[in-house]
Amino acid sequence: MPFMPPKEYKTEAKPIWCPGCGDFAVLAALYQAFSALDIDPTKTVIVSGIGCSSRLPVFVKSYGFHTVHGRTLPVATGIKLANPELTVLAMGGDGDAFAIGGGHIPHAARRNVDITYIVMDNFIYGLTKGQTSPTTGSQEGTGHGFKLTPTNPHGQWEEPLNPLAMLLTYGASFVARGYSAKPKPLAEVYQAAIRHKGFSFVQVLSPCVVFNKTYDELDAAIIPLEGKHDTSDFRAAMDLAWDTQTEHLGIFYQKERPTLTDRMAAIGTKSNPEQRAGDLSKLIAKYR
């Protein structure tokens, strides 16, 4: 495939996001990463759910599947299962991932399906205009982006989810965090995530400028890991994840282990050699 500079991964469709939305930078960093990795658009699929951020596949030259709310991971798993040669990315927001889609994350992680899951976290529901999300900060001061929302006008006392601690607990083999306001390291994290063999999870802090503008709060909270952390140290990764007043940026944890693709290939070779040639008649004859 001839080299494609980042801008060639752009489609003609114009993003629907509001000016200043973090998702523009998330998208730009993705073009950078695709270009750096020589991603072939005809051999790549981006799967998304529902929400502002889930519109992303339309803006990238590649195959894409804009699914229904919360079902990104099952669909992405099916694609990778069917054709392991494809590069598969799953995308969505914090509501799509952690509220309606939360039940699928542990299973994608423990199966170690070889896909890259990028969650654009803005601590709010943007597309539906400002309702509380599972990561909206609480009035007790935990998390980021606390606010009273149209659906929680009397208080937001629910503890925000801790996505990285959750993914580490679920057994994700690659866990990282990026920030839309720091696009260069974000593109690097993407590259590492896509290269990683197994389920890779990237939380991108990507503020909503209309319903929950958190740039100042996040700018004050971020600390890049920048090689000061051993990514094979699970306990250290967990400690960093639970340092909730600080938003550490970079790769928290990475460990290779057999992927879903490896397991399926092993079942294939274990299957009955007499039938491997696909002789259905022989199989049916067993019912005589």
Binding site: V58, F65, H66, T67, L73, V75, G78, A82, I284
Partner: protein, 627 residues
Amino acid sequence: MDELHHIVNDVIVRFAGDGGEGVITTGEFFGLALARSGLDIFKVTSLPAEIKGGPAMIQVRVGEEPPKSQGSFLDILVCFNNEVYHLNKADLKPNGVLIYDPDCEIDETNADATKIEIPLTEIAKKEAGGALSKNMVALGAIGGLLDIEAELFEPLVHARWGKKGEKVIGNNLAALRLGRDFAQNLKHLVPFRIQRHPHKGAQVIQLGGNDAIALGSIASGLSVFAGYPITPASTILEKLAVMLPSFGGKVMQVEDEIAALGCVLGASYAGYKAATSTSGPGVSLMVEEIGLASMAEIPCVIFDAQRGGPSTGLPTKEEQSDLNLAIYGGHGDSPRIVLAPANVRDCFDLTIEAFNLSEMCQMPTLFLTDFYLAQAAATTPEPDLSSYEIINRLRPTAEDLKDYKRFKLTESGVSPMAKPYDDATFYIATGLEHNEIGNPDISPAAHRKMSDKRHQKLQTAIDYAEKKGTFARQYGDPEADIAVITWGSTEGAMQEAIDLAARQDLSVAQLHLLLLNPLPDQTIFEFIKNRKRIIVAELNYTGQLAQRLRAALNIQVESFTKCTGQPFTPYELLKQIMFYHGWDTGQSEPVLSQIARVQKQRQAPVPAPGHEGQDAAMAGAVAVSRI
């Protein structure tokens, strides 16, 4: 030698016991042995909801011709204990044969039955290694009573328990022999023997409904199967988990039904045939993704083994009540194909058509099997795989790829579907309304045109069904004033009822629909011409197909429904046919009570075993007994 003897060529035997008594194995072995000796069998089981314990039964109908249904009343009832006796006693024909353990307290219900007491538990405990062998004592006993060769049963013991060691095999073989020995002295009490008749022509296999679906899926070129366990569909997932990897496919148990269909849509989007299996509760969870498949035009097959509903309902009982869900489930107008098999053979043949239609029309296909078919097994000729047409989705040509439009508007509505990796293009599949390229477009023109496109494809299904001519079947007297319309597994019981009615000169015409959406309207209009009454018989409370026919075709049909968690019997359908013909009870009762008895099905001079010139394989098979 020239005496007339009483030979039955259609016999219904039920084995009833507790789940933990191994009663199902008794019935399975009985059916398998007779199938291998050249008879056709049809077998249904009823399991308790409990994992072990609780009443269970297996009913085997044996015939020279393939039985059309489970039948109505029992010729032979074998009871393992008192509880199951009382649960099953009313189903035995008045002059049937009752074989029972002394634990059973036989009452007046079976006053006229031939009663044969066999100490199943005692024999097993005393001489065959323990109560676990009771089921093989029963099998040996029925073999002895009906003169079925011991050699037919013994290989089944070796095949089932071969890996468990000599002791287990020894105990079971002893149980078989002891049951047989005990019964030898009583066999003169049984007034009939089963006619046996070697199969002619094609090799015969014995297939379960869910096995047939699994094999049919493989024949269709299934690549990816994802599912979540649920009664009575789980065995489809289990069988494919064993078999599909040998054919290069992949099977995965996932976290729920939503994930299952999600995986299937992903795999199909990637260009591979994919399917899932579930029951009503699972389909309820899948409806949003069924809409997505319809909107994004992604082929997929969803096997729904229906059970009693709503909610958790009756997980181990029969019902045909997911038709509305299959046709209408979900928001918006989301066209899909709905098919329903009537018998085990359809579970193979129609599965192939389910994939064909789904691929051809690029839309979801729902396949409504049911509890009855899921657990039934029947003999059927071995399918000739070369005789099936396998249809794959339309792929873009080189010309199409130059300016590729995934949702290109075409005359049929079907547009070429690109395959990631293989086709040098790209597109976005989306649940949003979209334009021809696939980009979101919610303009009035886009929604109207794309709605047209999605619905036009249904005509492709109708055209295919009409060309094939296998998606609707007619039975009975084509000229009859009274017509019935059926769907799903009720076809066979209705055909039998029609045969029984014909003997009373009562004529009925039957139209059986395998394609339920889109409806083959021309076939239906043609069928109902000049009828006086049209009745839709189905197993649900509200008459879902009747409502569909009234609403979609504006035709007047009557509804005859049964909602007890049980299948129709030919007997009750016959009764209904008599009613439609204006018979009063004075007229119908004598006929019905005669039909409910063991019939002399054939009287023929039969050579004694070992008679010169007799086919050796038949020796003993048609052993004689005086009426």
